[in-house]
Amino acid sequence: MRNRIAYIASNTFREAVRDRVLYNLIAFALLLSGAAILVGQISIEIEKLVVINLGLTAVSLFGVVIAIFIGIGLVSKEIEKRTLYTVLSRPVRRWEFIIGKFFGLAGTLVVNTFFMAIGVFAALFYVSHKFVRADALILVALYFIVLEFVIICSVALLFSSFSSPLLSAVFAFSLFIVGCFAEDLRNFAGMAHGILRWLATGAAYLVPNFSAFNVITSIAHEQPVAGQLILQNTLYALSYAAMALSGAVLIFEHRDLK
């Protein structure tokens, strides 16, 4: 069982690695990190702040684009192209297929983040000529970005299990944007009355709370991140991904591959 999941994950990884669009996106993210140096040079005294802010935002944004771009097609494209027929007619359970796909995509994003992070650190070194202890905080921000990706992968996979790639992309992007404003949605729910309060509260807890993962600005200002937040975010991301994946499995188990 574990082997089959690993084989599916490694094939998903291989598919992503052989996709040229992925390289274009990574190159674009690295360019943006490079551009941060230029912007930093015209922002006297705050070069480092600009490089960290722009660099990590590029990593996060392009990672999200890659996660959604690849994730939305993981199941629906396989059904559309009928590549799934020769996989599921083997001793592969449907849930193993979904979990394998998830790990393949998550693995791809971890590797991408690693390379994009090298770009950010290189840009940082270029403007500061040295690394200081506080720069290690960037690793925490990168960890939170990876946790974000884990959630997005699972959500993209969930949408991909029942809708077309185009609709999945719309759903996943919308959820990402709403998720970035989850705190505001919660505040709004607190102020609302009656049925609107119930609806807003329900929506606020249903959408992934990405605002808790965004520590880029505070890290750029060298403010430490509490260990409790790291633990909280880790548990939240893993629980959310587990729920989204359970939904994807549940839907996919009952889906007819016409």
Partner: protein, 313 residues
């Protein structure tokens, strides 16, 4: 023990967006395929052949009924390690080379790592793709993809093989090779269940066939039984190019080819035509019962089912 037992499998789809309405794709199907047979599943396009195969592969869930493959429930994952499947017009991960694809399928089918590479090479030779082993599948023609499809279906040495339209997209040489491969699989003791609408292939290859139309089974049996039971005519061949008028008088369908003449008459005129040929001092070569072609039987069954459906309506 039968290799495949289909016990009333049926499928009704819900069609329509807002107002869902049921559409029956397969009426409850009862069918048994014996171990070591080549079994042809015949029917026109949209008859329910692919639905049946998808049900057996667990790609769609049945509305009712069940099936057993090699004595086990067809949904049992252990059974899937012993079956191979070629879907209709197969499409594969086009970023992989054929060798990588077969390696991947070997992994999923549980082929031990030590034997995998050797088995992949063996199958590449078997389907004639050894020279294209490191070419990405996106560069493959339709016929080559069909060969890949056959290769992946037999890669893990399954006991039962399901082929959905295996000759589709192949040139005459390719079709011949697939026919040979099926014969070879039979000789190895495997059961081959294949769907087709190319009747000549079925006639040449199959031990038994089933005919399905509009989701309903219309006939099943050995090809010879199906084709000999309905004709009731004999073909008489004698030497010479002369056709006596008394033979024509029997209402025989006569023609001459080379230095032989032949006549087709009904079975009850057998004695009469032999008497005539003796009287005319013709040298008799053979008398054989005329078999209806599988195609004629197939068309007859389809016409019959359409007439029945028309009357019911």
């Amino acid at each position: 023990m039968p290799a495949i037992e289909i016990l009333g499998l049926e499928k009704i789809y819900s069609v329509g967006f807002w107002r869902k309405r049921p559409k029956r794709a397969l009426h409850p199907l009862q069918l048994t395929v014996e171990d070591g047979e080549i079994f042809g599943f015949l029917g026109p396009n949209g008859a329910g052949k692919t639905t049946t195969l998808k049900l057996l592969m667990g790609l769609v869930s049945p509305t009712g009924g069940s099936a057993r493959i090699l004595g086990h429930e067809w949904t049992d994952p252990a059974v899937k390690a012993q079956i191979g499947f070629l879907p209709e017009q197969p499409y594969f991960y086009d970023y992989l080379t054929v060798r990588e694809l077969l390696e991947y399928y070997g992994q999923l089918s549980g082929v031990p790592a030590k034997q995998r590479s050797q088995r992949v090479e063996q199958v590449l030779h078997q389907v004639g793709l050894q020279d294209a082993r490191d070419v990405q599948l996106r560069k493959f023609s339709k016929g080559m993809l069909q060969r890949v499809g056959i290769g992946q279906a037999i890669l893990h040495d399954p006991k039962v093989v399901f082929f959905d339209e295996p000759m589709s997209g192949l040139d005459p040489m390719g079709r011949r090779e697939v026919r040979d491969l099926m014969e070879q699989l039979k000789q190895e003791g495997k059961t081959v269940f294949f769907s087709t609408h190319i009747l000549s292939d079925a006639e040449t290859l199959c031990d038994r066939v089933a005919i399905i139309h509009q989701g309903e089974l219309r006939g099943v049996g050995a090809v010879e039984d199906l084709t000999s039971s309905v004709q009731g005519k004999i073909e008489v061949i004698w030497q010479g190019t002369h056709i006596p008028p008394s033979v024509k008088a029997l209402g025989a369908d006569c023609h001459v080819s080379g230095d032989c003449a032949r006549a087709i008459v009904s079975e009850d005129q057998q004695d009469a035509i032999i008497d005539v040929l003796r009287r005319e001092r013709q040298h008799l070569i053979s008398i054989t019962p005329v078999r209806i072609s599988l195609e004629a039987y197939f068309v007859e069954k389809l016409r019959h089912s359409e007439t029945t459906a028309g009357k019911t309506a």
